[in-house]
């Protein structure tokens, strides 16, 4: 089984992992003091993997995504994409940022259509794709609304739709479902997993919800509090396709959740004492 998987891999992939953090460090220079956000991080994400990252808040998880996106340069080490160092905005990734980053002067439809517009897709095809995507994230009928008129959760879904609509090779997601109520979150997790199982994009997904990480990911990386290191790197061997609604009752789910929590909780405790 393993041999077969490796053989299939080498056919379509180069020897490089798609995303690689090669001993990456990030130091923020404050006015009075500098602090180390990330210290000597070495993680590689192979093509097609759904990789979840959990860790205490403020541990520099967003920093990692910004580096993959090429919006931020590491202070030390190199971030590689297909073996090449990331330099400048990486247009092969789609980024669902923590903030919604919508264009407030554009309607929902024109916001979601923006990446397609930038890629020169024709008007009619664009409209079709956008409507389909809005339907998928449960925003059909809100196409003509402006971001200001929507709730925080709805804006978040617009952002998600805007990223999924052009099917980028890599999706970076920074707590995309954090602001949603739990029912809606489950529905959107389900949508995301279905879309992902179809497109097999590479996903780096930051969350503070361990359950979400186990339910969605092929792998969960647990980060420590600042300066960030990897505390645990766990493969999630729950078979796919997964049903988000019932995966939580899988006995492996409970065991993995427990194992991850055991790794994560000292970090959170440590922060509280510090």
């Amino acid at each position: 089984m393993n041999v077969m998987a490796a053989g299939a891999d080498s056919e379509q992939r180069t020897d490089h992992p798609l995303i690689e953090f090669d001993h990456v460090g990030m130091i923020y220079q404050g006015a009075r003091q500098s602090f180390v956000a990330v210290d000597d991080l070495a993680v590689a994400v192979p093509r097609g993997q759904f990789c979840c990252v959990v860790g205490p808040s403020g541990c520099g998880k967003s920093t990692l995504l910004n580096m993959v996106a090429g919006l931020l340069e590491p202070s030390r080490g190199t971030v590689r994409y297909e073996g090449e160092p990331v330099q400048g905005p990486n247009t092969r990734v789609g980024y669902v940022t923590q903030k919604d980053n919508l264009l407030p002067w554009r309607s929902v439809r024109r916001n979601v259509g923006l990446p397609l517009e930038l890629r020169g897709m024709g008007k009619r095809e664009r409209a079709e794709r956008v409507d389909q995507m809005l339907d998928l994230v449960g925003l059909a009928g809100f196409g003509d609304a402006y971001p200001r008129e929507l709730s925080g959760g709805m804006r978040k879904r617009v952002t998600l739709a805007r990223t999924l609509v052009y099917e980028p090779e890599v999706i970076l997601a920074d707590e995309p479902f954090g602001a949603l109520d739990s029912q809606l979150r489950t529905v959107l997790q389900d949508q995301l997993v279905r879309i992902w199982e179809r497109t097999r994009a590479t996903v780096v997904f930051i969350t503070h919800d361990l359950g979400e990480a186990v339910a969605l990911g092929d792998r969960v990386v647990v980060m420590s509090s600042r300066p960030s290191r990897v505390v645990l790197d766990r493969t999630i061997d729950i078979p796919r396709p997964r049903d988000i609604f019932s995966v939580r009752f899988d006995p492996r789910f409970a065991a993995l959740h427990e194992e991850l929590w055991a790794a994560l909780s000292p970090e959170i405790e440590g922060r509280r004492r510090a």
Partner: protein
């Protein structure tokens, strides 16, 4: 007690209809309220004018305060002999030219400085220095340089407008969210796309704020130059009237200025409502 319970029960039984009736009642009430407000306003104006008319010549010498009837008579004369029209056109022309030139320059320079960091860093202190100068104090100098005709007024007005629009455009261009620009770059936006699809629209609200401020100030700029020295315009009319101890003429000119300012402000707020629907 039962009198109170009665309608409440009816409310519960037919909520939709009751609500509708309630809404209608409230609308009726608000219409009546508006009517009362407007009537009071009219009465207030009538009282002030009546008091003015009655007091002029009895309590206080009309030489100082003139009277509404004299002002109306003066306006009628001015309308009849074309004075009003010619001077209003002169002021509006100076305003429009000054506003257009000043705002255009303000947008262009503001945008350039806002997006080219080096220029902004070098020039910011000078801009602040010039802006803190009361621009109207430059009117005598401009008249010396450009004469008492249209040119001097236009330069004055455009300078006032320039700074208002420049400042807001500059702030708007700098205010563009870097993270938003980053995310849009990831979607494949080049320099041109970022400018056209993100930076310009995101600065637009700021620019509109500047333009909205600049409109009434363009009237101020034009009228102040006219008062300082000029051959025609509402400011000129006001000044020559005052200089010849003609209070009726002074008040008449002020009335015209108020009307012009009001019309302009209404036009600006209407235009604003049309432009920024998304806000």
């Amino acid at each position: 007690m039962s009198a109170i319970a009665g309608p409440m029960e009816a409310d519960a039984a037919v909520p939709a209809e009751a609500l509708e009736a309630d809404g209608r009642e409230r609308r009726l009430l608000s219409r009546r309220y508006r009517l009362v407000v407007i009537t009071t306003r009219v009465l207030l104006v009538a009282a002030v004018l009546g008091f003015w008319q009655a007091g002029s010549g009895t309590i206080i010498n009309p030489f100082w305060v003139s009277s509404p009837s004299r002002i109306v008579a003066r306006l009628a004369t001015w309308i009849g002999d074309g004075t009003l029209w010619a001077n209003t056109v002169a002021t509006l022309t100076a305003m429009a030219l000054g506003f257009t030139l000043g705002s255009l320059a303000g947008v262009i320079v503001g945008f350039t400085l806002g997006r080219v960091r080096f220029l902004a860093d070098v020039l910011t202190p000078f801009v602040i220095a010039v802006n803190s100068l009361p621009k109207l104090a430059l009117a005598p100098l401009f008249i010396l340089w450009f004469g008492i005709g249209l040119q001097g007024k236009v330069v004055m007005t455009s300078l006032v407008c320039f700074f208002l629009v420049f400042y807001n455009t500059f702030a708007g261009a700098r205010d563009t969210d870097d993270e938003l620009l980053g995310v849009v770059s990831l979607m494949g936006a080049g320099r041109r796309d970022r400018l056209i699809k993100v930076i310009i629209p995101s600065s637009a609200t700021w620019i509109f704020t500047g333009l909205r401020l600049a409109v009434p100030y363009s009237l101020v700029g034009a009228v102040v130059s006219e008062i300082t020295a000029s051959s025609e315009g509402l400011g000129h009319l006001l000044k020559t009237s005052a200089n010849t101890f003609d209070t009726a003429g002074s008040f008449a000119a002020i009335v015209v200025l108020v009307v012009v300012a009001l019309v302009i402000n209404i036009a600006v707020s209407k235009a604003e409502g049309l432009i920024s629907r998304w806000k």
